[in-house]
């Protein structure tokens, strides 16, 4: 096995492990219901969309990208619709985009690069909530969530 194949093999092993059988159940559900795009939860003026209101309290799948975690060993991360680029020429300091989704995972998770698309599945919650550990204020969340690479 050359180095490249070794890296690929270990990479897929590492990435497969944390998700376990839950991932298969989630993927089956996605196939049945389809995966939502993050932007469909918001209207252009950043109010919640009719779809988001209709799905509140239900278990849904949403695709996006894991923003670099705010805190190590957390069960919380922020899902963004595009890779969370920080642009020093655009902003004087790092800023979150308006349309994000806070994800509270069922188990501790292994961080995935902010460039790799993932699909998260959890219970959709609407309304403001401040994370006690990070102080992060979210307006929409997935709780009891799992995720896997898209």
């Amino acid at each position: 096995m050359n180095r490249r194949h070794f890296m690929q093999a270990t990479g897929s092993l590492l990435l497969a492990t944390p998700f376990g059988p839950l991932a298969f159940a989630a993927e089956a559900a996605e196939a049945a219901e389809g995966t939502l795009k993050l932007r469909t939860l918001y209207n252009k003026d950043q109010s919640f969309s009719p779809l988001a209101k209709a799905m509140e309290g239900q278990r849904v799948s949403v695709d996006g990208f894991m923003a670099p975690p705010l805190k190590a060993d957390s069960k919380f991360f922020v899902l963004t619709k595009m890779p969370m680029a920080t642009c020093p020429f655009c902003e004087t300091e790092a800023e979150w985009p308006d349309d994000i989704l806070a994800v509270y995972t069922k188990r501790s998770y292994t961080v995935v690069s902010y460039r790799r698309k993932i699909i998260t599945r959890g219970v959709l919650e609407l309304g403001s909530y401040r994370d006690p550990d990070t102080g992060f204020l979210s307006r929409v969340r997935l709780s009891d969530a799992t995720f896997h690479l898209a």
């Binding site: 795009k37 003026d45 890779p83 969370m84 680029a85 920080t86 460039r115």
Partner: protein
């Protein structure tokens, strides 16, 4: 035979006549005819050499030749064509040059240095505004000594009105370079000034310019830099300000400046020459693809011209499409080209509302990005989508995508670096290209694949185009230093 054709072409070039005697087999070909018509038009062109009453410069931030190409194809394809044949409004302007965009200390420039070049006539360092290259970025103590005269000072001294329009914050690099002097582009609000820095912040300088009569109209984003950040004090959208000291919107109202903060209040703005400030977002205005509740760049352009043209001595107007750059930084070409089209519509509006005989219009960019185009795509391949195979038996591309050596399709447009990089930290900086479909690639949120991992896609130092029409526009010619643009505008405005 080659010699005979050359002779016939020489005859055609000298007379632009139809090839009556030495007819070429291709003379009825539509490409041949179209080029002949273009030749006749250009041969009859006369430069306009009277003084320009008005000068308008439209800058699409980050819209180099490559990015502009993407917008041309996108706009043309949206209008039902293949895209390549489409002509954006500024591409029909009679004069064009290439600008070298580097800053004095940067092969790859930033918008503060380039904006200063275009609005003061001198190149300077990256990251500084309205000062020469003697100032080291961040050295507040040197701002006054290093300051050079900027466009708002120069044109207001001629008795002209001065306006700025931008979809970025009005305190952001490009619009700020019209009116501000700052040791750092990031000194947008007083809360951004480092301790001991006695230079005024950029938002305060904007209000100072209004009070002094050096600025008459400003429409764009960046409201937070004008609003206090005291507890409980928020702007019209419920967002907190960033100022420690003075609320500049209250000051503007005291000065008799008409103020708007959304599309409804913008519609009520007096356009009779009353000084006007519109701050339509807390930070940058929205991307065109996401725009709601605020005016478009073309609408702001129309408001600006209608307001400024009340001055009998004319006006200087600087208009920026600020978010072409931001979408490129995000590696999200779908939003880049939509803001590019919004820019083209602003160019068309400026042209429509002015007269070539008395108004010089310059259209340019401040710098390019690390954008590139690849593969052998057939005609009509979606510029945002997959490279489709050339059809050897027809015009429009085949449905089959071109495949790379990894067996996967690829998009025609890509970025060399940025958020779309396929090498990722969680794979020890290895990676493979994700599989990609046409539907994914043309999605509004798609980030093009890239090679070098960076959190933000970068600028590049390659040339940008300058398009011009109106008085002295013929001086826009050749490959020039970017600060030359200022000198053509100034010459046009002062020519006798």
């Amino acid at each position: 035979m080659k010699h005979i054709v050359s002779s016939a072409l020489a005859l055609a070039l000298s007379s632009t006549a139809v090839f009556a005697q030495d007819a070429l087999p291709q003379q009825d070909n539509e490409w041949f005819q179209a080029a002949q018509a273009e030749l006749a038009k250009k041969a009859g062109r006369q430069p306009i050499t009277n003084k320009a009453k008005n000068v308008i410069i439209l800058i699409a931030d980050g819209n180099g030749v490559g990015t502009n190409y993407a917008t041309r194809l996108f706009d043309g394809q949206q209008k039902g064509g293949y895209g390549d044949e489409h002509v954006l409004p500024h591409e029909a302007f009679p004069y064009i040059a290439l600008a070298k965009t580097y800053n004095t200390n940067a092969q790859t420039p930033d918008s503060a240095g380039t904006g200063t070049a275009m609005h003061t006539g001198v190149k300077t360092k990256a990251g500084v505004l309205g000062v020469d290259a003697s100032l080291n970025r961040g050295d507040c103590s040197a701002t006054e000594a290093a300051s050079v005269a900027n466009a708002s000072e120069i044109y207001s001294a001629m008795g002209k009105s001065v306006g700025i329009v931008s979809t970025a914050r009005l305190t952001h690099a490009t619009p700020a370079s019209v009116y501000a002097h700052s040791a750092d582009r990031n000194f947008e609000a007083d809360s951004n000034l480092p301790e001991g820095c006695d230079q005024k912040d950029i938002a305060t300088q904007m209000l100072d310019a209004f009070e002094a009569g050096r600025l008459d109209l400003a429409l764009g984003g960046g409201r937070r830099n004008f609003v206090l950040k005291r507890d409980g004090l928020v702007d019209e959208e419920g967002k907190a300000g960033r100022r420690n000291e003075e609320d500049l919107i209250a000051r503007a109202k005291t000065l008799g400046i008409a103020y708007a903060w959304d599309d409804a209040t913008a519609a009520d703005l007096p356009l009779d020459g009353t000084p006007v400030i519109g701050l339509f977002e807390s930070s940058h205005m929205k991307y065109e693809a996401d725009r709601t509740g605020e005016p478009s760049l073309a609408e702001m352009t129309e408001m600006a011209i209608k307001s400024l043209q009340n001055n009998d001595k004319g006006y200087f107007l600087s208009i920026e499409a600020g978010r072409v750059d931001h979408a490129n930084h995000a590696g999200n070409l779908a939003r880049t080209v939509r803001d590019g089209v919004a820019f083209a519509e602003a160019v068309a509006k400026a042209d429509e509302l002015t007269n070539d005989e008395d108004t010089l219009i310059i259209v340019t960019a401040d710098h390019e990005h690390a954008i590139a185009f690849q593969g052998y795509a057939g005609r009509g391949s979606n510029i945002l989508g997959l490279s489709r195979q050339i059809n050897p038996n027809g015009t429009e591309a085949l449905d089959e995508p071109n495949l790379a050596q990894d067996g996967k399709p690829y998009t025609t447009a890509g970025f060399l670096n940025g958020g779309g990089a396929i090498l990722t930290e969680d794979q020890d900086w290895f990676g493979t290209r994700p599989q990609i479909t046409e539907e994914e690639a043309t999605d509004i949120d798609y980030v093009q694949q890239a090679l070098i991992p960076m959190s933000s896609e970068t600028h590049s130092g390659e040339d940008v185009a300058i398009y011009a029409k109106g008085p002295w526009a013929h001086l826009i010619d050749g490959t020039v230093e970017q600060n030359y643009i200022f000198h053509v505008m100034h010459h046009a405005a002062t020519a006798e």
